[in-house]
């Protein structure tokens, strides 16, 4: 079995297109996921029983079911949901990209929520009292004192979850989307070059993820508060 380098070179532009989509999903998933996840974490800490119960239920639900199942849910149901909301009575076709972005934000938020929650629990309880004693409003306390500390304490874990997200994007294969793996598959099927394509994709993922995880390790060393 020979590796056809010329074929690989031909495939490169399409692969890069797929890689770009993968990166887009990752970026949207991270930013949307951390924002929504932080809101969920704060909701879980809130005084309102209803809010904290709803947030907890959402997080536990999303973390108990496979991502592929969530992809199917959103893929099949969003057109119906939009049709129902716009009272058109029939499913409205929605772009695959948008569906995918929504799925990943909704799904990953549950994981980020747990991480942010752990971040809040790692803050010394006296910090809340100190903020209170100084008269800082809840909003100021969270924005300037509590949230920064929470995130900083769990930054390595947040980044590791992002690497996981990057790998999770490959699952959009199940709805035939053209991410990195999807692009490779399409080329493989068209050209009959399964082995080269999948090995290449494996190497690309490995390089990205390994580099990122090494970066996180370095960061972990530097994030200690610099005790004397």
């Amino acid at each position: 079995m020979t590796v056809d380098l010329a074929a690989l070179a031909n495939a490169l532009p399409f692969l890069l297109k797929g890689l770009w989509f993968t990166l887009q999903i990752t970026l949207v998933g991270v930013s949307g996921g951390i924002v929504f996840g932080s809101l969920l974490a704060i909701a879980r800490l809130s005084q309102s029983r209803l809010l904290s119960t709803l947030a907890t239920a959402y997080v536990n639900l999303m973390r108990s079911i496979p991502l592929i199942l969530v992809i199917f849910w959103v893929f099949f149901l969003v057109p119906w949901a939009i049709g129902w909301m716009t009272a058109s009575g029939r499913p409205v076709a929605v772009g695959a990209s948008l569906t995918i972005f929504v799925t990943f934000v909704l799904f990953e938020a549950a994981y980020y929520a747990e991480i942010v929650r752990a971040g809040f629990r790692s803050i010394s309880p006296g910090q809340y009292a100190a903020c209170d004693a100084l008269g800082l409003s809840k909003f100021h306390a969270y924005t300037y004192i509590l949230f920064p500390q929470a995130i900083r304490n769990v930054l390595p874990i947040l980044l590791t979850q992002t690497i996981v997200l990057f790998q999770d994007t490959s699952l959009v294969y199940v709805i035939s989307a053209t991410d990195l793996l999807g692009a490779a598959t399409k080329i493989a099927q068209r050209d009959g070059r399964l082995v080269e394509m999948y090995l290449t994709v494996g190497v690309i993922y490995f390089v990205f993820c390994f580099a990122a995880s090494q970066f996180v390790k370095q960061l972990q060393g530097r994030l200690a508060y610099g005790a004397r």
Partner: protein
């Protein structure tokens, strides 16, 4: 949920039977892979804590390889690529395996080795959390290295990492769904098939979602009981206290 009791197109069964079948494959794959992962993961974790020699390096290579490639890509490797790389006769034999075993075996190996890398890291973390004095005490008592690990270190390490192992156990059930891409008709694939046959999307996926929730609940309960049963007062909160 009435779709469960309607007959399938071939009239031979009801959709409920499909769900049961999918569930069985999910459970078989998850538990089989978990067993493989525990055995290999422990070996890898131990290897990484050894001092000197090639084993720690091999362990590191193993972990980094299996952790930095998505599970789906690994699945494709075992199912599509490996038969091509092996000598022709073996490759043909693999490709001719009857479904569903032709899908199940690669999925089992893939998920087992993938999860083993993660468990390996956790075992390593657990072993490294133990006070160094434990090894010294075991040495002083005349334990061999194997005995030290088996009787002294690993029992403590596993208690420390039980929470993360619980997480891993629940994750493996979710990861079985990736096997649908290589043709295994596990639970999620079943939902998709029922949907394709009946177009009762909400019910099909709803039932399967509930099944996953029940699995998660049971898995969590099982691990919780194990945790309570093996708990040592001094190792609560994961830190050994003097």
């Amino acid at each position: 949920m009435s779709v469960l009791f309607e007959p399938t197109p071939d009239g031979a069964e009801r959709y409920l039977d499909w769900i049961v079948s999918g569930l069985c494959w999910t459970l078989l794959l998850a538990l089989g892979a978990w067993t493989i992962a525990l055995v290999i993961g422990t070996l890898v974790g131990v290897a990484r804590t050894l001092r000197g020699g090639i084993l720690p390096r091999l362990g590191r290579v193993y972990v980094e390889t299996f952790r930095n490639i998505p599970l789906l890509v690994q699945m494709f490797f075992w199912y599509f690529v490996l038969p091509e790389l092996l000598p022709v006769r073996i490759g043909m034999a693999i490709k001719q395996m009857d479904p569903p075993w032709g899908s199940f075996i690669p999925a089992l190996i893939c998920l087992g080795l993938f999860t083993a890398a993660r468990i390996g890291e956790q075992v390593r973390a657990g072993l490294q959390a133990l006070p160094p004095g434990q090894i010294q005490a075991a040495s002083a008592l005349g334990f061999s290295p194997g005995g030290t690990y088996r009787l002294i270190l690993l029992p403590q390490a596993f208690r420390i990492i039980l929470p993360t192992l619980t997480n891993e156990f629940m994750t493996i059930f979710k990861n079985t769904s990736v096997a649908l891409t290589i043709g295994l008709v596990e639970l999620t694939a079943t939902a998709r098939e029922i949907n394709e046959n009946t177009f009762r999307t909400f019910e099909a996926f709803g039932v399967v979602t509930i099944v996953y929730l029940v699995i998660a609940l049971i898995a969590w309960q099982v691990m919780y009981r194990i945790e309570r049963a093996v708990q040592l007062p001094s190792l609560v909160s994961g830190r050994a206290r003097p």
